[in-house]
């Protein structure tokens, strides 16, 4: 017993040094003390914890040990990344940026018109949205390859959420007002997330959820485009699978063969060009130029046959000129405010998720880093400014950014070039779109969203993680059959449930010694491990919380019962000591501490010894604060399982 009686004193005197008992009985096995972490006040702990929660990337590290003047410059660069790359900007970079800027402009114009239609907004709003926000992003944003503009997901979600309550055809002004108010709230929400450093909120939309969500949305949107592609006039405004399908087939008399012929041929053209670019990334310009080409070709086609084709519906008149201010259209009162806020938050989260993910993807390809929280502020501010200049929700679009990257964009200047091209279009080219047929917009949308159906990703989820696949399917079918927000909600619920399930029903493993070493590993997994007679060594693979303390107690008692049965069956002496390997118990709460105490008492009554091996710092601290450590004290806590086994065996030998 005297072997390591000095170990317990350490707990009370809280020294954090390590004392090695030299007279260890087992040759070669030194027994180490388990230390408490260095003492800190509650305030210090709180500060550290908050730092880890809100400033994990330590964003201010650049400012350390700098002069005031340098700090000011760094601060300016921190707030406006344009000051970072601006001074080093060269003509060579400009040339690359002009090429990529013009390329994405050729994509942006038809996309803008189409996506605005998806959100049930006038086509011109889509063009406006490709002008103001990219300019603001180029000043504030930290990604060099992000192509900013409206995106399909956010457009369709806004369209579906708003049009369930307000009809865009019967009350167009109210609908517009709601759309801009929702955009404002989306921006406000995004900017606040960034400013309050709560960016982790978007992490809760896991990739699995998004795969299912986007596929479901793509299916719905493609089906909705049958309205344009078939030339149907009376169509449901609902977004669920069943009403849309029944709408398609209930109006078979409205199908127009002229529209179908034009639509299908351009759809084939667009899909083929997309296929070519996917096979050979160097031919990215094929799919980038295809939408504009289709628009031009189809417009000319309709223009030529205009006398004979009253059956193909066209865009019609679009106003010339720059974005008018629309701050007066924001309304912060009235019965629909709640709807605007809800729509703003949902579209805000979705567009943020896409924007951040896209920014990170291309940053990783070029080996620079994008600051998530700063990006959120940039995207949020650009949407708030957008809502005051007749723009709806915009973000970093995946298709534009991919084209931008492949066209060789070097800095955010490519966004400025694109905005300039859109400006020219707005000022001079609007009448050209008069005869553009609506069917072509449908074809562009279908081509865009079909790329969102990632069945390979879904198959991979199925293969690797069944619960992730379940979350994916929940969001897919939820979006398809219930509604967009419910589908998302269910999927987030499933993802969170998965985390909670892992905590509520943690793994416990029985461990054995790998012969000839001090390593202890799972008995079933490593055939070379063997049981240590008289010991039951259990690894607990989860923090111990209120949610699992009852379970763990039952499960540990069952392990003991089964071990005793096994020992009886194999006639292997008696069980005398239970060792809990606490390495993976990374946290404990008051219920967990109660479990440990109770377990110790229960085992003591049955004259078993309970030993903890390698409790982590925070667990040690809580055990100390709750005085549980004192009751373990002597030979109760060890640094490793190996030391525990060696020391306790030695003790038994010396005190038979």
């Amino acid at each position: 017993m005297g072997v390591n009686s000095n170990r317990v004193e350490d707990f009370s005197s809280q020294e954090t040094t390590l004392r090695i008992t030299t007279e260890s009985i087992v040759p070669g096995m030194e027994i180490h003390n388990v230390c408490l972490p260095p003492k800190k006040t509650t305030l210090q702990k709180l500060k550290q914890r908050l730092g880890e929660i809100f400033f994990p990337d330590d964003p201010l590290y650049r400012f350390k040990n700098q002069t005031w003047c340098k700090k000011l410059l760094l601060g300016l660069q921190f707030l406006f990344p344009i000051f970072q790359w601006g001074p080093e900007y060269s003509l060579r970079l400009l040339r690359s940026d002009i090429i990529s800027g013009l390329t994405i402009a050729s994509l942006a114009i038809p996309q803008g018109i189409s996506y605005a239609k998806l959100a049930n907004l006038p086509p011109i709003v889509g063009l406006y949205s490709s002008f103001v926000p990219p300019l603001i992003y180029s000043i504030l944003g930290s990604s060099r390859h992000l192509g900013v503009g409206p995106v399909s997901i956010a457009s369709l979600v806004m369209g579906s959420m708003l049009s369930e309550t307000v009809s865009p055809h019967d009350e167009p002004i109210l609908y517009l007002k709601l759309a801009f108010t929702a955009t404002f709230f989306a921006g406000l929400f995004q900017a606040s997330l960034g400013f309050l450093r709560l960016g982790f909120v978007i992490d809760f939309l896991s990739k699995a959820t998004l795969v299912g969500f986007m596929a479901g949305a793509a299916v719905i949107v493609s089906l909705q485009q049958l309205k344009g592609l078939l030339g149907i006039v009376h169509f449901t405004t609902k977004m669920q699978f069943i009403p849309v399908i029944s709408s398609v087939f209930n109006h078979r008399d409205e199908w127009s063969w002229q529209t179908i012929v034009v639509g299908v041929s351009f759809l084939v053209f667009l899909l083929t060009s997309r296929h070519i670019s996917m096979k050979r990334p160097k031919l990215f310009w094929v799919s980038a130029a295809a939408p504009l080409t289709s628009v031009i070709l189809s417009t000319i086609l309709v223009l030529c046959f205009k006398l004979k084709t009253h059956k193909i519906s066209i865009i019609g008149y679009l106003p010339k000129g720059l974005n008018p201010p629309s701050a007066n259209m924001l309304s912060f009162s009235g019965p629909d405010l709640a709807l605007a806020i809800k729509t703003g938050i949902v579209t805000g989260i979705l567009s943020l998720t896409e924007g951040i993910a896209v920014g990170r993807t291309f940053a990783a390809l070029k080996n620079y880093q994008v600051d998530g929280n700063k990006e959120m502020m940039a995207i949020g501010l650009m949407n708030m400014a957008g809502s005051c200049s007749l723009c709806y929700v915009t973000t970093g679009s995946f298709s534009r950014s991919a084209v931008n990257y492949n066209a060789g964009a070097q800095t955010a200047v490519s966004n400025i070039i694109m905005a300039t091209a859109v400006l020219v279009t707005l000022l001079f080219l609007m009448p050209l779109f008069y005869y553009t047929p609506n069917v072509i917009l449908g074809a562009i949308i279908v081509t865009a969203v079909i790329g969102l159906i990632d069945y390979q990703a879904a198959y991979r989820l199925w293969k690797v993680d069944k619960l992730d696949f379940l979350a994916c399917m929940c969001s897919f079918f939820g979006v398809l059959f219930i509604s967009v927000p419910s589908g998302l909600g269910i999927a987030v619920g499933v993802s969170v449930f998965k985390i909670l399930l892992h905590v509520t029903r943690p793994n416990t493993l029985i461990m054995g010694n790998i012969r000839g070493t001090n390593v202890y590993q799972c008995l079933g997994r490593y055939k070379e491990t063997s049981r240590v007679p008289s010991f039951l060594i259990l690894a607990i693979e989860s923090p111990i919380y209120f949610a699992n303390s009852t379970y763990l107690q039952e499960r540990i008692l069952r392990w003991i019962r089964e071990e005793e049965d096994w020992i009886k069956a194999n006639n292997e002496g008696t069980l005398k000591c239970v060792i809990l390997d606490m390495t993976a118990v990374t946290a404990i709460d008051t219920s967990g501490i109660d479990l440990v105490c109770e377990l110790r008492k229960m085992l003591e009554k049955r004259s078993f010894k309970l030993v903890l091996a390698n409790p982590v710092g925070s667990v040690m601290e809580k055990l100390h604060q709750s005085k549980t450590l004192d009751s373990f004290g002597l030979n109760g806590i060890y640094l490793t399982v190996g030391e525990a086994v060696a020391d306790i065996s030695a003790l038994w030998k010396s005190q038979p």
Copy 2:
């Protein structure tokens, strides 16, 4: 490189054996393979996982290797525990049970009347509820010490939730119907939880939450009793702090000094007796007998002065006779069904929590086990039966069980004795309660609920776990100022948030080698640890999920940046290898796998090596399924940090 080239083949051939490379370069350090867990089909895995989730205690283990006849007997005993202890029942046990049964009956009669009042139900319902449910429990229940009957928390929650919508004074029949329907749903919910083995649902009401909830409820209830104690006639039916307090002071003209004198003196008597029993557990009978004594004394008092004390309100006429059937009062339609279901679920959860916790507590004291899921079925069935015989929600009551235990109860027969005593009361003694003053019921309730305020537990929470304390305070103030279900909801939310926070922002630790050993521990915590030159060893203390993969990537890159700064400042060579100790990474999902892959690629670009140490079985499996293992392959995965350091150092030496 040849040293362990055989390690990689194992991954592809999936052998689970251990191969020791004998020609290890570092003397005394053998390099072990990391094994995949034994291969299982999806179905086998699902079966095992479901087994762990729903049958952690392996409830059918008794049936293994038994004859059919024995199995039948065991099954009967399993369903009706009375068959387990019944055959061994003796006269000696009966004597103990009679004493304890009569003792709890003396407590049950005044408690029944008082708690029914708390639920705004007629006093007689409280007595009915102490008759049928205990009889059913004694057949089905597995606890030997549980004293069954109405409890304060469930009574007051039912009273507050129902009376917010339906007034018990204006619509007494509707109120009664709702109460019995809610009781039915409470029972149905409890029995289903038990039957579906979903008992862990109640684990989400952590002890911290319950401490706050009970204290808040106790404060509100005590304040509400001021109605009876001060003799106020017009009182609010609301359950929030502010309306109750203002009700007390707005009706100062209704205060009656006679009532106050009687109330305060009996309150002092009851509190003193409670204090005595708490100081000396052997004098448990003092507090057990006090309520009945008070009722008798006060009734006699009022009877003596009956001509002069019209100012003290009395219970009045109570019907004689047994429980009439009330199945016809259950209504499963109508506008209030949702309210009944909601009330049923909330009271069901609360009463279940109390019942199970009390059962477990006393079982642990006598060293037997209570099966949670079976208890739930027993409590649920007794409530369903109760709802058909004019009883409202009952469960195992803490006060009754404590008295029962202290009075020496041996089996559930004490519940039968209590029910018999209540039966006698119902049949013959009801007229005696005619003159019992209502003020005494208020005093009994206050004494009962004041014991629920456990400020010492709250202080302990504050000392040990600040977030648990926050959950406690949330439920306390939520119940006090908002409402009972919202308070509970907020507190459960805080508890779940705490789990999610730990997952979203996991700890990462930098580790060093404890000199002279193969043990690696946290650098800041153990002073004897030292950095290993050229290595950065990080321990990740959480599963890697979608919710933290972004955070972990940022945090790990920051560790690397800081390590490089440190190395530069201390002029200590270069960083060449990052080792992630995965011991505490007990699960990984597809986002986590993406993180590992991406991190490896990013580090490779900067020509660092990424190594994983000791991935657990399920993580290895997922890495294998997603083909990530292949990209790590050679020298990428080791069993321990020590082996990784030794092997890679040796490799560097042999290939400079």
